[in-house]
Amino acid sequence: MDLLRSALAELDPDRLLSQFVYHPKSPLLFNTGFFLLLFLAFLGVYQLLREHHRARLLYVTAFSLFFYYKSSGWYFLLLVFSTIIEYHFARWIADSGSPGRRKLLLVLSLCVNLGMLFYFKYTNFFLSGYHALTGQPVPILHVLLPVGISFYTFQTLSYTLDVYRGQLAPLRSISDFAFFVTFFPQLVAGPIVRASDFIPQIKNKPFISREGMGRAVVLIAAGLFKKAVISDYISLNYVDRIFDQPGLYSGVENLLGVYGYALQIYCDFSGYSDIAIGIALLLGFRLPPNFLSPYQSTSITEFWRRWHISLSSWLRDYLYIPLGGNRKGVGRQYLNLFLTMLLGGLWHGASLTFVLWGALHGAALAVDKLFKQVFRPGNNWLIKLLGWVITFHFVCFCWIFFRAGTFEVASQVLHQIIYNPRPDLLLQVLGSFRPVFVLVALGYALHFVPDGVTLHLEGAMGRRSVVAQAVLVTMIIWLVIQVKSAEIQPFIYFQF
C-alpha cells in the first residue's frame, strides 16, 4: 500500500495529461511504454463490453480516433470526413439503378479520395516538377502529411470499388463502417485490410481461440524484436550513417550498409505489421498476413507475392486488372505490370527516387515473365540458388534508390561500391561494429527459418498458460528496453 502511495506521489499530473495530447514528435507507437498502459486500460473496458455490440463498436471507434489524433493532431477530422463521405457514396452507388449514375458517383468518390491523397502527398512534388520543367516560379505549400493517409484511403477505395462491382453489399450502419475505417491496429501503417475480409467479422462477438492467442503472442513478440531491436539498432548505429554521407565510407562499408538496410526495412515494416496483426487478434479480428519471408524468394515475381502482400494484392485487384491485366496481349501485359509498379512506387512517397524504384521493379517483373516464357527454366537447386542470388541482389540494388532520397546520394553509394571497394577492410569493419553485424546475421538467419517452425511455435505457445505467454512478451519488452537505452556505437571512419 505504501508502495502504491509513494508511486502515486511521484505521478506528475501535468506529464500524465500531456500524454493524451498530440505531440508531433511522439506519436503513439505500439512499441512505447505509454501504449502498453493505455492498451491495458482499453482492454479492461473492451472485455466489459463483450456482450454489448453497439457500445463496443462506438468505444473502439472513439479509441481509434484518439489513437489517430495522437499521431496526426487535428487531421483526425479528415478521417471522420473521409468516413462519412465514403459511407454515403457507397450507399448511393448501391441504391442507384442507372449505370451512368453509378459511374458518375464512383468517379466523384475517386476524386474525393484520390484528391485528398494527391493534395496532401503530391502537391509539392508536382509543383516542383513543374518548376523544374518550365522554370516558372511556384509556391511551395507547407502541407503536413497526415499519418497513414495512404493506407486508409486505399482501404476505403477498396470498399467503394467492391460495392460498385457488386461484390459487396454496402453497410447499413455508419458505426460499422467507421469501425472498419478507423480500426486502430492497422490504421497508420497497414496492413491494408479489405472490406470484404474485415466487415463480416464486425458482427461477431469477440472470440479468441487458444491458437489465436498463441499466434498473437508470437506475432507481437517477434514483431517487437524485429522492429525495436534489430531494425532500430542497426539503423541508428550503422545504416543511417552510411546513407547520410556515403562518400565518406569505403565500398565494403557501403555494401554492408545496403545489406543492412534491406534487413532494416524488412524488420521495421514487417515487425510493425506483425504487431498490428497480433493486436487485432487480441481484439478478436483476423487480418491477412502482410509479409512471408520475402528474401527467401527465388524470383522477383515470387518476391512480390511475399512482400507487403496487402499492397501488392490491392494494386493487382484495383489497378493491374482494371488496366487490362494479361487479357489484352503480352505486350500490353508487360506495360500494365510496369505502370502498376510505377504508381506503386509513387505510392511509397512523393519523390522521383520512389518512381525509379517502382519502375525498376515493374521492368523486372516484365523481364521475369518474358524469361520464364521463353526459356522455361527447370526447377533444380542450382537454378533456384542462382535465382535467389539474383533476386536478392536486385531487390537490394533497388533499395539503394528507395533509401537514398536523392539520386546524388544513391550514385555516391554505387560509386563507392564500384570504385572504392576495399574488400581488405571487411574484417576490420565487421570487428569494429560487432553488435550491429551480430544482429544483422541473426536477423537474416531468423528470416530463413522455415514457416513450419513458426507455425509450430505458435501452436506450442497457444497450448501454454497465459503466464508463460506473458513471460515471453515481457522478456522481449525487457530486451527492447535494454537495446533502446544502450549507448550508441562510437563513429568510426576507416582509412581507404
Partner: protein, 507 residues
Amino acid sequence: MKSPRSQNPFLLVLLIVSLLGLLSLLQPGLTVGGVALRPVRLLADVLRPNPAAAAETLPPPNGPAGPAAPPDSVLTAQAAPPADSAEVAAVAKAPAVANLGGLDNFLAALRQTKADGSPVRIAYFGDSMIEGDLITSDLRNSLQVAFGGSGVGYVPIHTVAADFRETIHETASADWQEYNLVSPKLPAGFALGISGHVFVPRVATAAADSTAAGGASWVRFQTGQRFAPVRRFARARLFYGPGAEPAEVLATTDGHAVPHALSGQAALNELLLTPARPARQLRLDFKTPGPRPVYGVSFEGTGGVVLDNFSFRGNSGMSLTRIPFRELAAFGKALDYRLVILHYGVNVADARNKTYGWYERAMTRVVDRMQRAFPAASILIIGMSDKSSRLDGEFITDPSVPRLLAAQQLLAKHNHAAFWNLFEAMGGENSMVSWVEDSPPLANRDYTHVNPRGAHRIAGLLFDYLMAEYQHPGQPAPAAPTPDSAARPAPAPTPPARVDSATSQVP
C-alpha cells in the same frame, strides 16, 4: 474437445505490465557478464523527472580504453589517453567562454590585403569534421569574396574523401606509395609533408619506360564548379622532396603538355606552373629514376586569400608532431601563413575520459611547433563541436565535451592563441540533437558530424566571428581604437610571377 471459452487478452496484458513492474523494482546498476543492465521505467513518461536517473553509470576515470592503440588510431577513433596525474579540475558544465585575443598578425595581414591585394594564407588543420573541404570551402569562399584571392589552396596527391570533395576533383593512379600520420612505420627517406602525407611515385624502370607512356604514376585535378573563386587557378605549385636525377614531370594543363625537370635536392622543393591563362585542369605524369617524395599541389592566384584544408580523419591533433619540424618549417617558409587554425576534439571526446590535462600538454607541443614553423601566423584554436551520447535512451551532450572544451580553452590561453567556442556557437548544450533533428537536418545520425548544410552554417558563424574581430579587434571593448596596423611588420609584398615555369628551392 476444445474449450469453447475465449482467451482473456486483458489478463495477458495485465500480467505483462505486472512483470515489468516487478522488473522495475530491480536494483539499478546490475551487471550481467560485464554489461550494465538498463533500468525498466515503465512509468517514465508520466512520473516526475528524476534527477538521479541521469547519474553516470560509466567506468572509472581514465580506465584503459581497450587494447593499447597508437595515438590517432582511426580504428578505435578514440585516442587512449596516457595515465594522468593531478589535473586542473574540469568544470562540470560548459563554461560560457569569451573568445580570447591572439589574431593580431592575421587581422593586420587582412587589412594589408584589403589595401593592396597582397596574399594572406591560412592553414586549417582538422579531422573528419573538415574532410572533403567541409566548413573550409564555405569559409574560403566567404573570405575570397570579401578580400579577393582565388584557388582551393594545397591539395595532397590523394585523400580518402577525394571523391566527396566538391571544390576540386582529384584522381590518382593506383601505384603511388603513401605514408601518412597513421602509417605504423615511416621510412627515413620520406618525411611527412604539411598535410600529414607523403607520396612516392612508382620508380620508372627501363622496362616500364619502353612499354607505354601510361606506365608512370600520375595525378589529375579538375576544379569544381560550386564556388566562383576556385573554378580556375592562375598558378599551381608542385611540392616535392629530394631524389635521384634526372627526374621529370609532364604537366598538362587544359590539354597543353610541357615536360619539366624535377631537380631540387632540398627537403622541400617547388615547381611553379603558370598556365597561359587561368586553367581548370592539371595532370601530372611523374618519371623518376629513383624514389622521390612528392607532397601535393597548391592551386592559387597571385594575391588575396588562400585557405588550405589539411583534413585527416581520426586525428586528435596530437600526431601532427610526426611531421618532422624541418619539413614543417620548410613548408612554412614556402607558404608564409598568417593564420593557423586547429580544429580537433571529436576523436578524443569520450565519456571515459574524466580529465584532459594530458591532451592539453600534448597539443601544447603541437602549437609550439606551429608557432616556430610559422612565425608570422596567428594561431586559432577551435573548441570542439557538440557531440551527443545516449543515456537511458536519450541523446544528450557527451559529458566529456565540457571537459575537453575547458582543456582547449586553457591550451589557447597558455599559448596566447585565439579561441573560438564552436560548441557555444552551435547553440551550446544538446545543440547536436537539434541539429540532427532539424528539418532539413544539419548533422548526421552519428550525432557527431555535421553534414554539408551544417558545415555551411558553421563556416558562416566562423566567418562572422573573424569579421567581428576584424572590425572590432580585442572585444569586448567595442569602443577601443583600431590598432595601428602600420606599427606592425607588414608582410613583404611578393613579386608577381612572370615566368611560365620556374624551379625554386626552399632551404
